[in-house]
């Protein structure tokens, strides 16, 4: 039997954009032939397999056209039974990681990639309950999961999904970690940053950029590298100096306007911490330790927790977990705290006329939901306050409160599962498109790349994406106070 479809009809069925369907056809994920009248033809079996891959209930069945939703008793198949050994999972460290599960399905209903590879959060937990550790470690699903914590937030018994997923990821042989995640960790451990930028190159670049600022908007600016006794220590996300160094200037302009005393360390300046993604606690601890060392070496009073959701989360978690004593030595602030401090104290003044288009904000899971759970504070309201100081045309996405992951969390931006990542992002794309915004503000590099480089194109969103600090920098009133 052949399945005949139009691209937009198929897109609707899978909840994605027709661009995505065309991409699937072009890349051969969707095996179909072009037929007459802008229609495509595919074999029913191929359609079924595609449904399987993305966990969709096939809308057509060869036997009959009735929706299968009415089935109440699921027929048995001839699959050989899985022998339950009774052995406990070594991955689920605590009853609250799996055993307490009610199998209620809340998590599986919420997860944007439920059904992908035939798995979902509930099945992952169930496999842990039944002690199926080997299958869990071998599965790619835990690497497609963005560890966004949406499931965890709603779970009535408080299953620690994210901890379990991270443990599963950590149990995989390092050589088999998908994509560059583990290589990034190794590089960071060896060379001080994920991309292996040498110290001299970095210092030279920073000083050079400082010169440009001095010559341009910020007369008298000099990049403060390794300034002892500076108030605030600032980290850098390694992909900025590597790929788009000009973007460093946004923060620097803000500091300049605020008259901040700040510094960047010349070594171990990377805020990125991929140990969070690969389940590598040792690496995570080392990277956080280096920040503590820099704080001590340079005798700074305030640590600006790294920008980017995961980097903030990993660093704050690491400090709490492994360096509690350091937290007595210095204060930590998030990017939101610092920006609000500048705005509310009047240290920077912002012009709301520079951004007149409709603007919305995407909550990073790490700064929002996950931060609320781990540290008792989500930075949703703070972010909105900052944005409203920069524009009069702000609107929220629906639902506001507990939003959806962009689809690139948990390191998936760097991983080789692009189709799943795009599929995951369909809900975020819908939210953005429904908001009617022409600009999306983000606080995170992964979110930005996913929304701007991926979802924007795939879903024809036609939007600009700015970092929240970029928005602030671009809204600065020129006269320095």
């Amino acid at each position: 039997m052949m399945y005949e479809f139009k691209v937009n009809q198929f897109a609707e069925e899978f909840g994605v954009h027709r661009n995505t369907i065309r991409n699937w056809i072009n890349s051969g994920i969707l095996i179909a032939k072009e037929g007459p009248g802008r229609k495509y033809l595919m074999k029913f079996e191929d359609y079924r397999l595609l449904c399987e891959k993305f966990g969709r209930e096939p809308s057509l069945h060869p036997e009959n056209n009735a929706a299968s939703q009415t089935i109440t008793t699921v027929p048995r198949s001839d699959r050989p039974p899985l022998v339950v050994s009774g052995e406990k999972s070594r991955l689920a460290e605590d009853p609250s990681w799996a055993d307490a599960c009610l199998t209620c399905g809340t998590c599986a209903g919420l997860c944007p990639i439920s059904g992908v590879d035939g798995l979902d959060p509930r099945k992952i937990v169930r496999m842990a309950v039944l002690g199926l550790d080997e299958q869990l470690v071998a599965s790619d699903w835990p690497w497609k999961c963005t560890m966004c914590g949406k499931c965890e937030e709603a779970c009535p018994v408080g299953i620690e999904f994210v901890a379990l997923i991270r443990k599963i990821r950590g149990a995989r042989k390092r050589a088999e970690v998908p994509g560059p995640i583990h290589r990034g960790v190794t590089m960071c451990l060896e060379r001080g940053n994920n991309l292996g930028i040498p110290k001299d190159d970095f210092v030279f670049l920073c000083e050079d950029l400082g010169e440009e600022l001095n010559a341009g908007d910020c007369p008298g600016f000099k990049t403060p590298i390794d300034v002892h006794g500076a108030r605030v220590l600032v980290t850098v996300n390694s992909k900025i100096p590597y790929g788009e160094p000009d973007k460093l200037k946004w923060w620097w302009k803000i500091f300049f306007h605020a008259g901040e005393s700040w510094t960047i360390p010349s070594e171990n300046w990377d805020g990125v911490n991929w140990g969070l993604f690969s389940g590598d606690d040792e690496a995570m601890k080392t990277v956080v330790g280096r920040i503590v060392d820099n704080m001590r070496r340079l005798n700074c009073k305030v640590l600006l927790l790294p920008e980017c959701g995961h980097a903030y989360f990993a660093t704050r978690l690491g400090l709490n977990k492994w360096y509690p004593e350091a937290l007595k030595e210095f204060r930590i602030v998030t990017i939101f705290d610092l920006l609000l401090e500048y705005i509310e104290s009047g240290r920077i003044r912002l012009d709301t006329t520079k951004h007149r288009m409709p603007i919305t904000y995407h909550d990073s899971c790490n700064y929002g939901r996950k931060s609320l759970k781990a540290f008792g504070q989500a930075y949703s309201d703070e972010a909105r306050k900052i944005i409203r100081a920069c524009t009069d045309n702000y609107r929220d996405m629906n639902p506001y409160g507990s939003g959806y992951c962009c689809g690139a969390g948990g390191g998936t931006w760097a991983m080789p599962f692009a189709e799943e990542r795009v599929f995951y992002g369909r809900i975020k794309a819908r939210q953005i498109s429904e908001s009617g915004a022409k600009m999306v503000i983000v606080p995170c590099h992964n979110c930005r790349d996913q929304i701007f480089k991926s979802l924007n194109r795939e879903y024809d969103l036609n939007i600009e994406v700015k970092y929240i600090w970029e928005l602030v920098a671009d809204s600065l009133m020129e006269d320095r106070t």
Binding site: E57, I71, V74, P81, L82, D99, G109, G115, A154
Partner: protein, 1020 residues
């Protein structure tokens, strides 16, 4: 306890259905009751409900008679707008302090005309309608409110907030009832005992934003849906999307909102009632909106009560309600359409995105803050879930002696269980205060009966709208206009609710005003409402038999909803017939008979012994008849109750107390073999196992014959030694039998013989029992692997904590409902169990050492025999059928007989005990009175026509007729006559139909009346 004098009055805090039941039982058995209510009217939550499961009775209709009875009971003193601020003293002698908020309306002057409300300019959210729509600052909580007196909400009232302003109500009130200077009052009341029945509040889903509640009005709570479905609700029962008034085509029910959720709300327990109410609401909503699609999203379908599983099956198969086993994590709004988006996984594990017009959140029950304060004032202990702590063997006793509970304060429960507990609390109080019975009560006095024998016929007709139950179908205006034209009718009036208290008062007034001497009530069924209207006639000084009810609701508007014209015509027929019949009605007086103030209890298990002991301690002699040579019954097989109380210790104590009580006469190894008599005067023949017989007399009886375990016929039970029943397993485990001791792998299989064709009921105790056994096994040795294969885990109410503990211990739960029953096969010493995993959707193979089957509870095989003796019915499964599933859960339709324990339906110990106490309280309402008034519908011999042919004697099923030969008068042959034993006569009328000479008739159904009625029927 001190030996001081006991006070014969009781305070009941909370005027919901539980408190009302306790009040009526106590007031009817010799105690004076203060019924304290925090709102302006009694009724609680039940008056907000539309219909009630599993009978689909109109909630207001069945509770209204009880409200009215409470409102006018001589021995019940209603205190509204009151809260308890202090309880000092000891059991038997408490001083309770009440703070009564001002009503600002003088209850003695208010005639409830409603002009004040019409003129009040201030509108606020209507809390009676669960926040839907508005009410005024001066208001009645609901139209049938008891007491029917208006009240001012001081927080909303313009005048009270700003002196000098507004005051319209005062200006328009002709009765001069408005009193803005009303002040708070403090009452100090001396009572012997206190019953706490303050009820619950529903969980507020607003703060947790993920439910979307508050952001989209198409997301409503289950209580709001009740109001939308109700004909007295804000939309008069029309279900539309609140947002835009568009029709509702698809509706979703989300279960466990605010229950079984420790993450979002901290209420880890199960609220017990929401599954059934959702099913009921889905079924009713489908009746309201043809073609409506309803889906219920749930975790476990907890329909563990009597008749519930059958209701579930009917909803699924006949009504077409869709059930999806997936809890929902949130509700989102599609901004364009206002539709509600839900994402869930279906039975294949596929994620589905679906849109609905209306989402109903099944909000759970919780203890409100003011009840926690009350608990503090009362100084009683609470459980971890914030419910009153009670013992399973004394389920209505709190930790403070003399203070009792009933209803949802002691754990989430449904209406029948609340009513049971209301009666049970009454029994417990009566036991405590037995010496003071009758000391504080007032005796009723009715106005003198008017002799109407010389009067011409003057008929009054009252036509009930029953909200829109009748008026929504029947053209009541037309009916009223027609009724006026009927012969001898002098007054016709329509009533919104003819059973409300104000209607009663108005009827009484009109009877006097128009000198009415025959009354027709065109409303509902005499089965539930005739006693109420008879009482009203009595108060009006009219003989109670001059009443006729035309059932234009149950037999008309309810069944002809799709044919209003036909229904209106039929209503006219029914009214015309009633008028014809009542025209020939005559005054008749009930006979009173002395009551044998002794009880009988059949069955010496926990329920039977509890009932017997309670009656004995209330001061009545009790016959306790036990079939075997041992007291204790099924409880002897149990080890612990769900809360961990040791059953055998408690049962041993109970047996000791029963044996030592002088008022209990124990008949071991005897059975009841013959019954004659009637309420207040039963005679039974007991037969011993040797065939000896003896006769006992009693005024009321309680059937507590228990149940028995089914014998499984599946899972290779009997052929594999390791496959045992749960009862067998408990014994093997207790005696540390080698097999159990060495076993490492245990599989429990639930619902063996329950919830399937022929046995469509839940045995209620097995889930909890299996979980408890599994926990014990796992605690003894954590290396053991324990699996529980189930269909729905029914660890209802606070039992949920056990389920959670079991999971945390690593016990694995597998749901086999979706893929069919597990397969059990023997492989040498091992047992292979194959079952499909409900999450992974693949077959699992578990190798086990022991398989434990949760066998069903069945009724005893002699239940039917006992049923026949007392003419009480058993249901399709063989359990005894109570008089009314909701409001008379321990009464039989045969007066004077009651039921308790497993004989009624499978249940755990604490529910058996509560039911036994309830049966005892109900029996005490009969035994406490020295005489009983018999029904007026009795056969009467017309000596003019009876020639003593005795044909009637043979056909009388109650042996109530005897032949009487009068001594011959000189010159004449001796006259023969039959005589009726009015006590035995049930007024069935078979004699009247048999008599060829019109020598016998039944009062209220004379040939003349019936003929007139028939002619009237044919005249249409």
């Amino acid at each position: 306890m001190t030996d001081g004098k006991k006070v014969g009055s009781v305070m009941i805090v909370g005027g919901g259905v539980a408190g009302i039941q306790a009040a009526l039982d106590l007031a009817d058995s010799g105690f004076y009751v203060y019924l304290v209510e925090k709102a302006g009217a009694i009724g609680g939550t039940m008056v907000q409900l539309d219909k009630t499961f599993p009978t689909n009775d109109c909630s207001m209709c069945i509770i209204a008679p009880k409200l009215v009875e409470c409102g006018r009971h001589l021995n019940i003193h209603l205190l509204t707008l009151c809260e308890v601020t202090g309880i000092i003293g000891v059991a038997g002698d408490f001083a309770v302090t009440l703070r009564q908020s001002p009503r600002y309306v003088d209850m003695n002057k208010c005639i409830a005309c409603g002009v004040c409300t019409d003129n009040c300019p201030k509108k606020i959210d209507n809390d009676y309608n669960a926040g839907i729509g508005k009410r005024r600052a001066i208001y009645l909580r609901y139209p049938q409110a008891v007491p029917l007196k208006y009240q001012i909400d001081p927080a909303a009232c313009i005048r009270l907030q700003k002196p000098g302003a507004c005051g319209f109500c005062e200006k328009v009130c002709d009765a001069g009832a408005i009193n803005f200077t009303d002040v708070e009052k403090i009452h100090r009341i001396n009572v012997g005992a206190v019953i706490l029945a303050p009820g619950f509040e529903v969980f507020d889903p607003r703060p947790s934003e993920m439910w979307g509640y508050g952001s989209n009005v198409n997301i409503i709570t289950s209580l709001q849906l009740e109001r939308y479905l109700s004909t007295s609700g804000p939309t008069e029962g029309h279900l539309k999307r609140p947002l835009d008034g568009k029709p509702v085509r698809k509706m979703a029910f989300l279960q466990c909102v605010g229950s079984r959720d420790e993450n979002l709300c901290g209420n880890g327990y199960c609220s017990s009632v929401c599954c059934m109410s959702a099913i009921k609401e889905a079924v009713l909503a489908k009746e309201h909106v043809p073609g409506l699609q309803t889906s219920i999203f749930y975790m476990d379908m907890r329909t563990h009560g009597k008749g519930f599983d059958q209701y579930l099956e009917q909803a699924r198969r006949e009504a077409g309600v869709r059930f999806v086993r997936c809890r929902m994590g949130g509700v989102e709004t599609d901004e364009e359409s206002g539709d509600l988006r839900l994402r869930y996984v279906n039975e294949n594990g596929r994620q589905i995105e679906d849109f609905f017009d209306l989402v109903v959140l099944a909000v759970g029950m919780q203890t409100p803050k003011q009840v926690l304060d009350l608990a503090r004032v009362a100084d009683i202990r609470l459980t971890a879930d914030n419910f009153a702590a009670t013992s399973d063997f004394a389920p209505v006793k709190t930790s403070r002696e003399g203070i009792f509970t009933c209803g949802a304060i002691a754990g989430p429960k449904d209406i029948p269980q609340s009513v049971v507990e209301g009666s049970a609390a009454a029994a417990a109080v009566a036991e405590l205060l037995a010496p003071a019975r009758g000391e504080m009560t007032i005796l009723p006095t009715f106005s003198e009966e008017r002799d109407i024998s010389g009067e011409e016929v003057r008929i009054g007709i009252f036509i009930c709208h029953c909200g829109t139950n009748i008026a929504g179908v029947v053209d009541v205006k037309d009916l009223a206009e027609y009724s006026v034209t009927l012969p001898d009718v002098v007054h016709v009036e329509r009533k919104l609710f003819s059973c409300s208290q104000d209607s009663q008062e108005s009827i009484i007034q009109l009877i006097g005003e128009h000198r009415l001497n025959r009354i027709v009530i065109a409303a509902c069924t005499p089965r539930t409402h005739e006693p109420l209207f008879r009482e009203t006639l009595k108060v009006a000084g009219l003989n109670e038999c001059l009443l006729e009810m035309a059932n234009i609701r149950n037999q008309n508007s309810w069944v002809h909803g799709n044919n209003p014209v036909g229904a209106t015509n039929k209503a006219k027929d029914l009214v015309r017939m009633a008028v014809a019949k009542v025209t020939f009605g005559e005054a008749s007086h009930a006979t009173t008979m002395p009551v044998v103030q002794k009880g009988l209890v059949i069955g010496g298990g926990v329920a039977g012994m509890t009932a017997a002991l309670n009656l004995a301690q209330q001061g009545f002699t009790v016959h306790l008849v036990e079939r075997t040579d041992t007291l204790g019954g099924n409880a002897l097989n149990l080890k612990y109750t769900w809360s961990g109380e040791h059953v055998r210790t408690q049962v041993a104590k109970l047996i000791d107390r029963v044996i030592c009580n002088e008022r209990i006469i124990i008949h071991k190894e005897w059975t009841v073999t013959e019954v004659t008599g009637f309420v207040g005067n039963f005679h039974s023949t007991l037969t011993s196992k040797n065939g000896e017989t003896k006769v006992i007399e009693y005024g009321a009886g309680i059937v507590a014959i228990g149940g028995q375990a089914a014998v499984p016929s599946e899972y290779n039970y009997g052929s594999i030694t390791g496959v045992v029943t749960s009862v067998q397993f408990d014994k093997l485990h207790e005696f540390k039998e080698k097999h159990v001791k060495l076993a490492k792998r245990f599989v429990f299989i639930q619902c063996v013989g329950s919830r399937e064709e022929g046995h469509m009921y839940c045995s209620k105790v097995c889930c909890t029992h299996a979980v408890q056994s599994a926990i014990t096994l796992k605690k003894e040795n954590p290396d053991r692997n324990v699996y529980i294969l189930y269909r729905d885990m029914r660890t209802y109410a606070q039992r949920e904590s056990l389920y959670k503990e079991a999971r945390k211990l690593g016990i694995i739960f597998i749901n086999y409902e979706m893929h069919g029953k597990p397969r059990v096969t023997g492989r040498g010493a091992e047992i292979e169990v194959e079952v499909w995993d409900h999450v992974l959707h693949q077959p699992l193979l578990i190798v086990a050492d022991m398989v434990i089957l949760a066998v069903a509870i069945r009724p005893r095989e002699d239940a039917e025999k006992i049923g026949k003796l007392y003419k009480v019915p058993v249901d399709g499964h063989g359990f005894f059928h109570e008089a009314h599933a909701k409001l008379r859960p321990v009464d039989f339709s045969t007066e004077g007989m009651f039921v308790a324990g497993l004989a009624h339906y499978p249940k755990p110990v604490e529910e058996s005990v509560a039911q036994a106490l309830a049966a005892s309280a109900r029996a005490a309402t009969i035994l406490a009175k020295p005489e009983v008034q018999l029904d007026t519908i009795k056969a009467i011999v017309d000596e003019e026509f009876c020639d003593g042919c005795a044909l009637c004697i043979d056909v009388c099923p109650y042996h109530a007729i005897t032949l009487l030969e009068q001594t011959a008068v000189a010159g004449e042959a001796p006259k023969k006559l039959v005589r009726i034993n009015v006590a035995q006569c049930k007024g069935c009328g078979i004699c009247q139909g048999t008599c060829p000479k019109r020598g016998i008739y039944v009062a209220g159904f004379t040939i003349k009346q019936v003929l007139a009625q028939l002619q009237a029927a044919l005249a249409g």
